[in-house]
């Protein structure tokens, strides 16, 4: 069972081959298969970019290759998951050879298992029963390969940035010496610098080990030059095979550019068309609604030490910004700069550490100057906030109730609900449970629920994060319409195209100084 290369260099990794023949998978409790009739051959050492619309079964395929799919109870109940055809890694079942493939998922938080850097990298090797001395050799090597060797082994993993966490996860995978590296949207919530860090670390490791790579990512441009093949999947259906297109990157992108774009894939150099802004012709456009003066922000509340109160250390200080009717304000900056924290403070959800946020009479309409002191009902008809994670904002068990919730609390404005449902293509889903929607649908719903209370200021945290190009364009167009109708739109975003589409002013926050830990 033990590999001969425990003590050897990482160069001794044997790349894995993948063979799928008519493979299909239906998740437990689902009517339709997530993947149907997949025929695919990946040669040892090949690097494949896997594309496809949301729900095409990309993640399902990666999980299957990693051997972590379908460890479902065989309690024989109807409605359990089922598998058809065959999916083999090196001619064997992936489930029987865990460790042959290393999987990295999207959420950096759940990619880290243990609380010390060294332990976390060693975790996989320990599970593969690698002898103790060899483990530490592998740990040092893996950390060096991903460019984290400057960290002490007992550095707390909670003190790493998003990009560092993803590179740490990569190190954990490398320490297992896998022949197949599987990356599921590894850079989705990273700032541009973090994306490059991760991409480059992957490239370095592949060059060194020659392992086979399968990567899933909506944004093609990042990985295009690193892969030698693009495979496009389509959602599982009984009639069509799973693989829609397969070939070298340039050819696939040339041949199928329009088709890919229509399917919502972000092909390089393509920005979906959005509704252009009209002029600021409306009366009242440009009126000042909300202003931040020399504000310092932090998520933490004052700490209590015995009887004393210690104010938190702010992540950003001296922020000055103005929000005006019918104008967009984009808040940009690297991960951890305090963008979300500032947006939440501006929206009356957090108390500023110092400085102040003040609403003008145009906005406050008698509710007082400080949004943080407003009652919840007063807040929602003045400032609407859409959180990055739509699920955080769901308060009922049905899409329609979700939309009616705000207006009912306010006692007016239910008429807007049907229009919003129609406009954001949610009408067919009115009876569904909000949590069961797809990512794009959840995002549209969370925007709709906040708009149902007709706020004058709309604050959005990473509204386009993880969205395919179609949802993206829809959202940008919708917001541009809102702007024209006099709503102020504040958005926190890494997305330069989105900022450009909405126009307005940009507030750039500098990287927060890292507090030494």
């Amino acid at each position: 069972m033990q590999a001969p290369n425990h003590h050897g260099a990482a160069g001794a990794v044997r790349p894995a081959a993948v063979t799928a023949r008519g493979w299909g998978w239906r998740h437990a409790g689902r009517a339709k298969p997530a993947v149907h009739a997949l025929d695919l051959d990946i040669l040892p050492g090949e690097r494949v970019l896997l594309l496809g619309p949301s729900g095409a079964g990309k993640s399902t395929l990666l999980h299957a290759l990693a051997g972590v799919l379908g460890d479902v109870n065989d309690d024989g109940e109807a409605g359990d998951s089922d598998e058809s055809g065959s999916l083999l890694v090196d001619g064997g079942s992936p489930r029987g050879q865990r460790g042959r493939a290393g999987l990295m998922q999207q959420d950096p938080e759940t990619q880290v298992v243990l609380s010390r850097v060294g332990d976390d990298v060693a975790f996989g090797a320990e599970n593969l029963a690698v002898p103790r001395d060899a483990i530490w050799t592998r740990v040092h090597e893996a950390l060096a390969d991903v460019g984290l060797s400057h960290l002490p082994l007992d550095h707390p993993t909670s003190a790493l940035s998003g990009g560092q966490k993803q590179r740490l996860a990569l190190a954990g995978i490398l320490a297992m010496r896998p022949g197949l590296i599987l990356l599921d949207e590894p850079t989705a919530n990273l700032d541009p610098a973090g994306v490059l860090e991760v991409r480059d670390a992957v490239a370095r490791c592949l060059d060194k080990t020659g392992a086979t790579l399968v990567v899933v990512e909506h944004r093609v441009s990042v990985w295009k030059d690193l892969v030698d093949r693009i495979v496009v999947l389509q959602p599982g259906s009984a009639a069509d095979p799973a693989v829609l297109l397969d070939g070298p990157p340039d050819r696939v992108l040339d041949e199928a550019r329009t088709m890919l774009a229509a399917a919502g894939v972000w092909v390089p150099g393509y920005v979906p068309a959005t509704r252009p802004r009209a002029g600021d012709a409306r009366p009242g456009a440009g009126d000042l609604l909300l202003a931040a003066e020399k504000t310092a922000v932090s998520r933490e509340r004052p700490r209590r030490s015995g009887f004393r109160k210690i104010p938190p250390v702010p992540v950003q200080e001296d922020i000055t910004a103005q929000v005006r009717a019918g104008q967009a304000l984009a808040i940009t900056g690297p991960n951890g700069a305090g963008k979300s924290t500032f947006a939440l403070t501006l929206a009356g959800l957090l108390e500023p550490v110092t400085g102040k946020i003040s609403a003008t009479t145009n906005l406050s309409r008698g509710a007082g100057i400080d949004p943080f002191r407003w009652k919840a009902e007063q807040l929602i008809e003045r400032i609407g906030t859409v959180f990055q994670e739509p699920e955080h904002q769901f308060v009922t068990g049905r899409v329609r109730d979700e939309l009616l919730f705000g207006p009912r609390h306010l006692g007016h404005g239910e008429d807007r609900v049907d229009e919003l449902l129609e406009r954001l293509r949610l009408t067919p889903l009115v009876d569904a449970n909000p949590y069961t929607l797809s990512g794009g649908e959840k995002r549209r719903l969370s925007v709709a629920t906040v708009l149902a209370a007709s706020p004058q200021v709309l604050v959005l945290d990473e509204p386009t994060f993880g969205q395919d190009a179609n949802t993206w364009a829809e959202l940008a167009s919708f917001l541009s319409e809102l702007l024209d109708s006099g709503t102020a739109v504040v958005s926190v975003t890494h997305d330069a195209e989105f900022t450009a589409a909405l126009g307005g002013t940009e507030l750039k926050l500098a990287a927060a100084e890292k507090v030494a830990l």
Binding site: M1, Q2, A3, N5, R14, H27, A28, G29, G67, D71, V72, N73, D74, D75, G79, R95, G96, Q97, R98, G99, R100, N127, L128, A129, V130, R177, P178, G179, G397, N433, Y435, T436
Partner: protein, 207 residues
């Protein structure tokens, strides 16, 4: 390359996902209770001042992990495991009960576990949840009143009895009924799709 042999699981053995989800439910229970107790101080303060055994009425909050964990995971030992993990979490945070919180957690989990075992881990309906909650509460009351480390060991007999009745009621309602309602709600959101409880929302209430 070495490989880890994976055993085929049977419906009674624990998968990795069962273990991690159970542990996190227990810990989330701790986070919720901690947040809850910030507000509960407003209630428990007067209770303590008026008639201390009344605090038994909010004790059910501690037993939520035992019942909720079992209703979701549905594997033998889930109640015991979740409650013990919850107690360990509390110990790590610094507990006013010191190491004795481990015994209390174990005993409370045991109370709920016994009820589920009596129904051979086949029934997870409302009456069973209420019973399990009440049993956890009962064991909690007994532990607090009669174990040497019990917080109420020095109370007079009648006060102990009152306390035990209060904890059992609280266990049935807060730990039993709330957990049962929460499980149904969770099943509707689809997050339980890989557990036996995924159909909890459509299961009959009483049989």
């Amino acid at each position: 390359m070495s490989t880890a042999a994976i055993k085929k699981t049977t419906s009674k053995s624990w998968r990795v996902v069962d273990i991690v989800v159970a542990a996190l439910i227990a810990i989330a229970g701790g986070v919720i209770f901690w947040a809850w107790s910030q507000g509960a101080a407003a209630v428990s303060g007067p209770m303590n001042a008026v008639y201390p055994p009344l605090t038994g009425l909010i004790a059910g909050g501690w037993m939520i992990p035992a019942v909720l964990g079992m209703l979701i995971i549905r594997k033998p030992g889930a109640a015991l495991f979740c409650e013990t993990v919850a107690a360990t979490g509390e110990l790590l945070m610094g507990s006013q009960y010191g190491a004795s919180v481990l015994f209390s957690g174990f005993v409370q989990g045991l109370g709920a576990e016994i009820i589920f075992a009596i129904f051979v881990y086949k029934k997870f309906n409302l009456p069973v949840a209420l019973l399990a909650g009440a049993a956890a509460g009962l064991f909690c009351g007994l532990n607090d009143s009669f174990a040497p480390w019990g917080w109420n060991i020095a109370y007079a007999g009648g006060d102990k009895l009152a306390y035990i009745i209060f904890t059992a009621i609280s266990g049935a309602i807060i730990a039993g009924a709330l957990s049962w309602i929460a499980t149904r709600g969770l099943a509707r959101t689809g997050v339980l799709s890989s557990f036996a409880s995924r159909k909890a929302a459509t299961e009959p209430v009483f049989s």
